[in-house]
């Protein structure tokens, strides 16, 4: 048997050599590109670069070989994360690639059939396919199980109709995992099924949503008689809700053991650099109140990293309820708006009007508009508080008006709610 430490040392050496030869260094301050700004040419080129990473064996490091992975350990993954942190690792679809590898893939790994896993996962890893989530609807956000998209059986196929929304990066994606209602007579959580839906299908319309800041990352999709076969059903028919729970836990950080890329957020060693720059540019870095804001923000950032480290370790070892991921999610939802507000306060008038060309104050203004993303998306702060209080603290559940009756009746009764 080989010495595991020696094996890891040589793995690190190989990864380092490969990175130097094949990937460019990350430009400082480079943010993830908004999916809407990625041109078809850039997308194709970045997919090719993802393929070289995959073919070199650095994507799906811990995944089984039969699914296109390398079958190596978490220690190997950590080494790759550390070594690759300084490099521009290709994410062709921006956030959509993050969703593919970080959320959809781990969910598929847990719930798909063997055949689906062998066929689908290698194509995600290689960059050939980008997948996004088709989850929320105009009428179903926090109450996801109240969704109205319907999948109807017609001979050998399923026919899907409905509208999905808030799908990050769908404009550059190839497929969506779509949660649809297959039984209207069952209670709301028990009539839902997952489907793989081709987004390039002519019966699917993907429309980018212009957001609060003026740019586009989210999309809405209209499904008009989209036909898919049984091979596109993920998990059991009417058994979609537990899979949705897995997916949401993964998204909140609770299922990261299956995540083939990335690690926890690295600790920022410099004092809140964005805020210090804002303060320094305006000459207010000596103001006592400004210094308190900077120190508090830096401390909050540090605490978030410490919290994630504490909980992820215990969740990975199975000693902590995966619902504890809601603490991490709630933390982001609390801290990010506070931080955005602090940046605006420090930037002062420089963040309400600026010359063309980009500046830290302009970034602060955009972050102010985007500041509540984490307190709404992926389960709002209020939903996380319900999960924490009910599943972790064991407080009594909310009385339910809709849980145990046929979904058809839920829709009918809601219209008369409060009138009796």
């Amino acid at each position: 048997m080989t010495d595991p430490n020696r094996d890891l040392d040589s793995y690190r050496e190989q990864a380092r050599t490969w990175l130097e030869a094949n990937l460019p260094l990350r430009r400082s301050g480079a943010a993830l590109r908004a999916a809407h700004d990625i041109s078809p040419g850039e997308l194709a080129e970045a997919r090719a670069r993802q393929k070289t990473v995959y073919e070199a064996g650095y994507l799906g490091i811990t995944l089984p070989v039969e699914y296109g992975g390398q079958g190596l350990t978490n220690a190997h993954q950590r080494i790759w994360n550390e070594e690759s942190a300084a490099y521009e690792v290709p994410m062709p679809g921006g956030i959509a690639s993050g969703v593919t590898l970080g959320i959809v893939l781990p969910t598929i790994l847990t719930h798909s059939s063997e055949e689906q896993k062998r066929s689908w996962i290698p194509r995600m890893l290689s960059g050939d396919e980008i997948w996004v989530q088709l989850l929320s609807e105009p009428g179903a956000g926090s109450d996801l199980a109240g969704l109205l998209t319907r999948a109807t059986r017609d001979g050998d196929v399923w026919i899907l109709n409905g509208t999905k929304v808030w799908s990050s990066g769908a404009m550059v994606a190839d497929f969506g995992v779509c949660l649809a209602r297959t039984d209207w007579d069952a209670p709301k959580h028990r009539g839902l099924t997952w489907f793989k839906v081709p987004l390039h299908d002519e019966r699917v319309t993907v429309r980018p949503i212009r957001e609060i800041s003026g740019s586009s990352e989210f999309c809405e999709e209209f499904l008009d008689d989209v036909m898919v076969g049984d091979d596109m059903v993920i998990g059991d028919v009417d058994g979609g809700w537990p899979i949705a729970n897995t997916m949401l836990a993964v998204e909140r950080g609770g299922g990261a053991h299956a995540q083939p890329v990335g690690g926890g957020p690295p600790r920022q060693s410099r004092l809140a650099p964005d805020l210090v720059e804002l303060a320094t540019r305006r000459g207010v870095a000596h103001n006592a109140a400004v210094r308190q804001l900077i120190a508090r923000a830096h401390t909050e950032d540090w605490v978030q990293v410490a919290l994630a480290r504490r909980l992820m370790t215990a969740m990975m070892q199975g000693t902590l309820d995966p619902s504890a991921a809601s603490y991490i999610k709630l933390g982001q939802g609390i801290v990010q708006p506070e931080r955005a507000a602090a940046a605006m306060e420090i930037a002062g008038r420089t963040a309400i009007a600026w010359k063309r060309g980009g500046s830290p104050a302009e970034t602060a203004a955009v972050n102010y508009l985007n500041g509540r993303i984490m307190s709404i998306a992926g389960g709002s702060n209020q939903i996380q508080r319900n999960i924490i209080s009910e599943r972790l603290l064991g407080l009594p559940r909310e009385p339910s008006d809709d849980k145990n009756k046929p979904f058809r009746d839920v829709l009918r009764d809601a219209k008369q709610w409060g009138s009796s």
């Binding site: 540090w302 605490v303 603490y327 319900n386 209080s389 009594p396």
Partner: protein
């Protein structure tokens, strides 16, 4: 608090908790509220048998700890002390024990450390001025006279000075700080009334008190003080966590029992969300306290930064957690008989004891050169 205790540490925690529950459960601490020294000497010696004062002392002087990571093991005890609002000089004794072990002369180590380990010699720490500021000794002037030092001035907010045999004071000589381990008998001790009913504090006045020069600590005082503050903050944070965790458990349990409007009040979303937030902040405080203990234990290069962040974060949120716990309890939490106020007093005292949040935040900026 720490989710990654070793088996030995887990066993030590259980032993500690069993000892406290049989010797001095919370109900019995109330009997000590009017006791001038605040604890029983025999009890202190029993706690010493459990190694409470040995953890930061090297083996050659009778010390040692369960895992060999003294600060982490001491943090286990500190957390349990907070959980049961225990009295006594645990934190200042350990800070001074570590200071002597790391910065004392070999005579000081040989003469005092074994007594501390056995709980027979009580030592405490006196770095603050009469207003509770870190003054680098400016409020206590030392003049060298032959092989003696003459002390004049005041040390404020000295924990358990009433029962101490020796005080580690910070003084200044020609504007430069120095530390001396002086006999308590050299000072005049004026007890203070404490917010925390289980704690004792005093103001300590020296009026041309003569002590031998040999009472001086050996090494660079600024480094020594920095280390002492880090040890104090790490242990104090752990103690606060124990107290907060108990307070919050009481709160959740009460909300499940108390019925109003035909339901347990813990079923109302307005209270559930308050408790979810408290629970989140408590998890963050635990994460911060664990990081602080690890950084101080391993003497990490960022230990100053980490302890200062943990101190300000926990202090800020401890007050909020305590207030929200009282809010959920309503009227019953407002009574003397209920234990809640014992914990409110302990956590609020700890939040200020080793530095106020705003000062810690300013210090964080300074550590980073801003």
């Amino acid at each position: 608090m720490d989710l990654e205790l070793t088996d030995d540490q887990q066993l030590y925690l259980e032993t500690t908790v069993r000892f406290i529950e049989s010797e001095l459960p919370v109900a019995r601490t109330r009997a000590l509220h009017d006791d001038p020294r605040g604890y029983d000497e025999k009890w202190l010696r029993k706690t010493a048998e459990l190694g409470w004062f040995a953890m930061l002392v090297p083996e050659e002087h009778g010390g040692g700890s369960v895992s060999g990571h003294g600060i982490l093991d001491a943090a286990i005890v500190a957390e349990a002390l907070g959980r049961y609002v225990q009295p006594g000089p645990f934190i200042p004794m350990n800070v001074v024990a570590a200071a002597i072990a790391e910065h004392g002369t070999s005579e000081q180590q040989a003469s005092i450390l074994p007594g501390i380990v056995a709980g027979e010699v009580v030592v405490t720490w006196a770095p603050l001025d009469v207003d509770g500021q870190w003054d680098l000794g400016r409020g206590l002037v030392a003049e060298v006279d032959g092989d003696e030092v003459v002390l004049t001035g005041v040390r404020g907010f000295v924990q358990d000075a009433q029962s101490a045999d020796h005080l580690l004071v910070t003084a200044s000589c020609d504007g430069e700080p120095l530390q001396l381990l002086v006999p308590a008998g050299a000072a005049h001790i004026t007890p203070l009334t404490c917010l925390d009913l289980t704690r004792r504090m005093a103001e300590v006045t020296f009026d041309h008190a003569r002590v031998p020069s040999a009472t001086r600590l050996a090494s660079d005082v600024r480094d020594a003080l920095e280390r002492q503050e880090q040890v104090a903050v790490a242990l104090c944070c752990a103690e606060t966590i124990g107290a907060l965790d108990t307070m919050f458990s009481m709160t959740v349990a009460y909300s499940k029992d108390r019925v109003a409007f035909g339901r347990p009040i813990g079923s109302f979303q307005s209270l559930k969300h308050v408790m979810a937030d408290v629970s989140y902040y408590l998890e963050c405080c635990k994460a911060a306290a664990v990081e602080a203990a690890r950084a101080v234990d391993s003497r990490s290069s960022d230990a100053a930064e980490v302890t200062t962040m943990a101190a300000s974060y926990i202090a800020e949120h401890a007050t909020e957690i305590a207030q929200q716990s009282l809010q959920v309890h309503g009227g019953i939490g407002y009574t003397w008989e209920h234990d809640l106020h014992l914990y409110m007093r302990r956590t609020r005292t700890n939040s200020t004891l080793y530095g106020e949040p705003a000062l810690h935040r300013e210090r964080l900026c300074e550590v980073h050169g801003l």
